[in-house]
Symmetry: C2
């Protein structure tokens, strides 16, 4: 059951697609019934201009959700600020990342979900100030609150996902392996990367173009020296089976004669400052204006600009810097220079010295700057900070809606850095600028659960880590996790060590791991599509799948992938194995390649399992089938287009009951991977397997 | 066996106390014998002004050592720059921390130790660039190399420890619990902290005074408004059983009339710039000079200054900012302001913008500044960067040597932030400005092994984490680890959440954990003293104690404390237990307080062990006794002075052979904890226990 409460006059964020009447009276009434948590209270603080929602948590209550955020699958014990932020240093103490996903589920003495649809800053204090107190503070008096009940977190999530609409579905090639770097500077370098993969027999579906493919970082332009024959090059690469995926940034360079700039200015399509002038910020291109993507006309205009690249054969994009990131605002930079002048003229004491350096360090992504520009939200003038979290959402929506028109029948790849719930209908996300840290394998795993809950299914983290220098073993272990994420992309920052799969000594191991991705793809794709079409979870915490298992709630370093597969990546340097918990007897596969594997049955309980640097563990649930591609090791298989998902190899954990094999079934989704005919019942078929068939060698062991 | 090789004309760092002749010819000869690693090569690169030492590692070789550094107990797979650095953000990618400890042990196909006695920058590439390559690069052509052989890492370490001399021994009260914060601002605040502990029945031995106790951050001064009756106050606190431990910083404020400054200037006691003027840097007091502690006259002078505080009853110090940390150099700050002037006058493009912000961010601890000042090392003029890693060592040596003269018969508490091997004879270290991160519990555990190897026995990390905001559970779990470190201190930064043991809701749990520290202290102190007197390890990796156990090398989140105790702290948020590996059957104690405990025998192998937030696990080896204090829960026990280490409670894991109890022995060290009569044979006694005695109730279960 979903109850909605409208507080004040909230902005319609379009996070939600289902019309639900205000249940103010119902909510109020529910507050005193047994059906709702008796201690959940909503208080509107007129003085502070805040809404405060409080709940007394039980000792064993678990809190799930919040999408892309720091800390555990269980969010208890910390504080989170929902405020899209461009901060590449994801240490444990951080409170904001790039996304703002205000949905959580409390499981325990009461089970309920809460979606705080408020696009400004919202603070979730989940047992941080006081271990038993959940307190949510909206820095606004206007919000739509949705209160969801159900017997289990899964039930509540399904209800929520229906409320917010179907998740984005990528083309199948978007679930192939992609290689990125800031930046492959020109055609030659992109070609070298393609060679590096293909000459080493490593499959790859896409190579990404970071900001340097553009002319002076101007959206919808091309750098003519670096990519002189762009369209030809796009097709040349496509002939090799590789799609190029360019980046698009939020800011539009201020430059006379640049069409996007000129059109934006003359049509009043840019965000305005206090005085009604186009707002000026500094980002990659230097000084820019921000397209006012909260305005539907602007969205139409900006979205159609993508045609510049689709016309040249591009089929996918990643939208970046759309928190929006601001290196500096023109106005504040001036203030800083003036203040420095003062400092310079006097003897700096140490307090002033830190004021000086802090002021300079604080130039970027400064909240006060977000308070100085305005949107025209289809007629309504609104200050940016009040709708800050909608910017990335609507930039990506602009692209998504336009691409739907440009290519009505074709799925296009699209994902974003900043996001808000609602954007999940238009594209995926990557988890932004992570680091080459071992801890970021585990962080990524934990983030996936919250993201799936909030509708973001097409998700992944930069494999190997974006910032800082990777080591070979970290890159390999990161790949062994990333191979299970729908978006599987290796990406790294300028100035860091190269980390392509062929950049180290163990190229063969990287090749085998990436081939394993393609090997599992029939299953991963099937589970992705079912999750998208049914509002289900692709990544599931063990505790949800095994609700009666008391230990399962403790397990945050293993995940269920869809209904049949459990994974347990190694995320510790120099480790040759790890502990794994099995909530039931499972079949364990220790893969070195699709064709080199140990198989074992492991009983329910705790295990220490060996897993060398060139190995990945996959566990198959009882009575389960995992369909895998038959040609994952063949030379001909070099991307998703050449992957055979008809002749399957099945990993089977048969249903052995009293010593007898029984039939095992799997509901398999498959389609052409390009068109939008998702709902066609022909896409679903049953794979059934009986003992006899198993013995005839259909399964791998 | 120790082989020494002198390369060039190295500076005598005084890291080593044993005279060893140059074994140049022997070393050379050894290079081609079977006894030494055949692939160890030393190359002097005249052009690059470098010494490069290379070794081809075997796949399974393990590398231990490097003292205070990032990453694992096994240092393989990363690169480390030995270069004392004031950097409070200890993320995985960092290469330098505050200490420079150039000793490592390779275990595998060959077992050997290597000490690179070179006080400038030394780079240890341990399988980072190439997984099988160990490459050590000294940025100098002058170094003393020591090559040590032995059958086990422990043998090699003992040999090394004999080479470098006996580790510092603190007063026993220094092993009591201490509370610190930047800063307890005045007498009232210190009193409130003392009250907070004592009124809650939480034992405490010391309260630390951070920089604000001084007048304008001037060493050897007192802030007269904040501590108007300092000497009285010191004694008043001592009467309550609490010792105050003030901080001393490296830089001496430039201020006319300030005695330390005036004496330093008139005697030429400060480091000089290129032109022979006293070098000016900005640190806490504003502009400062650095005492040239590499000069023996300066050490004598600076050391005697501590008398200002010992005369007032102070018995312990911590030396800080002695990398030395430089917020800015006067000269470079000027350059920066001039450069900013240029930037200001023109349109900043984005490259220039980052050059501008990077320049400001790079003002602090800038390597180029270290190249612009000079020491007078007893007559020899030497540029700072070439001896950079000796500064903290010699500042602490100055204090240590002076305190030996000021109080010849009394042990004084002394520890430092920056250090080099050799300093371990004069004081301990804390691991600097860590963070309130869960990962820093584990990092701290891993650091302890390397530190002990390098002679640093009196070690500990800021409990609860120094930077960023702690949570109650993290503070408690951190305490459950810190209770086993010789230096047990809770410390936090200005502006962060308060984290004293009584600052949260679970005061009782904190009390019980700190009381458990005192409960274990007879054993911890005994093991500390034996390790110091015998060149042994207080913290030991499992792999060293159980060399035949193949899995033990994988265990980096458990440690042996001395010979009989194993610990396995919980370092994960919301975890109610953890995996523990037992290399042999052990007795497990799950303590909630010294008087509230579960006891169990756990067999050899892997276990998942419950450990709630208010519990700590202690494992006792077979045939072992752990002597504990008899009065750890009594009201009278409020610090080490009131701790009863005569009437012991014994944790006993009896020697059960064929069902019969046998005698179990422990060699116990105890002394008065104040005097320096360490070697007195009366300090050692045997505790023997037979079955009958056990049954008479001497042991806890």
């Amino acid at each position: 059951m979903i109850q909605k409460r409208i507080i004040g006059t909230p902005i319609n964020t379009e996070a939600v697609v289902k019309v639900i009447e205000d249940g103010y009276r119902a909510w109020d009434k529910l507050m005193v019934t047994d059906k709702l948590p008796q201690m959940l209270s909503v208080c509107i603080d007129e003085n502070k201009n805040q809404i405060v929602i409080s709940y007394d948590m039980d000792k064993d209550d678990i809190v799930y959700g919040l999408g892309e955020s720091m800390r555990g699958i269980n969010k208890r014990g910390y504080i989170y600020h929902s405020l899209c932020a461009d901060d590449p240093n994801h240490t444990e103490d951080k409170v904001s990342l790039y996304g703002a996903h205000n949905f959580l589920v409390v499981q325990g003495k009461e089970n309920f979900g809460l979606f705080v649809d408020c696009p400004g800053k919202v603070i979730f204090d989940i047992g941080y100030t006081s271990s038993s107190k959940l307190e949510i503070t909206c820095e606004s008096k206007d919000a739509n609150l949705y209160y969801l009940t159900g017997n289990t977190p899964m039930e509540i999530v399904k209800e929520f996902r229906e409320l917010i609409g179907r998740s984005y579905i990528p083309p199948k090639w978007g679930m192939g392996f992609g290689q990125c770097r800031w930046s492959y500077m020109d055609e030659n370098e992109v070609t070298a990367v393609a060679d590096g993969y293909q000459n080493n027999g490593i499959p790859v579906d896409s190579i990404y173009l970071d900001i340097d493919y553009m002319e002076a970082y101007k959206d919808f332009t091309l750098h003519k020296e670096r990519f002189p024959e762009f369209e030809d090059f796009v097709h040349k690469m496509k002939d090799r089976g590789i799609r190029l995926v360019p980046i698009i940034d939020a800011g539009v360079k201020i430059e006379k004669g640049y069409d996007v700039y000129e059109e934006g200015v003359s049509n009043d399509y840019f965000c305005k400052d206090e005085d009604g002038n186009d707002y000026v910020a500094g980002v990659w291109p230097g000084k820019v204006h921000f397209p006012d993507v909260l305005n539907s006309d602007v969205r139409k205009w900006f979205g159609q600009k993508y045609r510049f690249l689709t016309d040249k054969g591009i089929e996918g994009f990643w939208n970046d810097m759309n928190e929006p990131a601001i290196f500096y605002s023109e106005k504040h930079l001036k203030e800083v220079f003036e203040k420095i002048e003062e400092y310079k003229s006097k003897e700096l004491d140490i307090e002033e010295f830190f004021a000086f350096t802090g002021m300079v360090a604080g130039l970027s992504n400064r909240h006060k700057d977000y308070e100085t520009f305005y949107h025209n939200m289809d007629g309504q003038k609104i200050r940016h900070d009040l709708v800050h979290n909608l910017y990335g959402f609507n930039m990506t929506r602009a692209a998504g809606e336009a691409l739907d028109k440009i290519e009505p029948h074709k799925r296009m790849l699209l994902f974003s850095r900043a996001s808000y719930i609602g954007m999940h209908r238009y594209g995926g996300i990557w988890t932004g600028d992570n680091q080459s840290w071992w801890s970021h394998i585990l962080l990524s795993m934990k983030q996936m659960v919250g993201l799936n809950m909030c509708g973001f299914l097409f998700v992944g983290s930069d494999i190997g880590g974006f910032g800082s220098n990777v080591t070979e073993d970290l890159a390999l272990r990161f790949t062994q996790w990333g191979m299970f994420t729908p978006l599987m992309r290796n990406h790294s920052a300028a100035g860091t060590r190269r980390q392509e799969a062929y950049a180290f000594e163990r190229t063969e191991d990287f090749k085998n791991m990436i081939r394993l991705r393609y090997f599992f793809l029939p299953y991963l794709y099937s589970e992705y599509m079912k999750a998208a079409l049914r509002g289900d979870m692709y990544f599931r915490p063990l505790a949800w799948e095994f609700p009666d298992d008391k230990h399962a709630t403790q397990v945050e370093d293993q995940l269920m992938i869809g209904e049949n597969m459990m994974i347990a990546p190694v995320y510790t340097q120099n480790a040759t194995g790890r502990y794994v918990y099995l909530p039931e007897e499972m079949k364990m596969y220790r893969f070195r390649s699709p064709m080199d594997v140990d198989v074992d049955i492991l009983e329910k309980g705790h295990h220490y399992v060996e897993c060398a640097l060139n190995e990945v563990l996959v566990f198959v649930r009882q009575c389960s089938i995992i369909p895998c591609a038959g040609n994952a090791m063949s030379k001909e298989m070099k991307n998703t287009d050449t992957l055979d998902d008809k002749n399957l190899i099945l990993l089977v954990n048969p249903n052995i009951l009293n010593g007898e094999f029984k039939a095992v079934e799997y509901e398999m989704y498959s389609d052409d991977g390009f068109t939008k005919d998702y709902e066609n019942p022909k896409n679903l078929r049953k794979i059934t397997m009986r003992d006899g068939e198993i013995l005839r060698g259909k399964r791998i062991n």
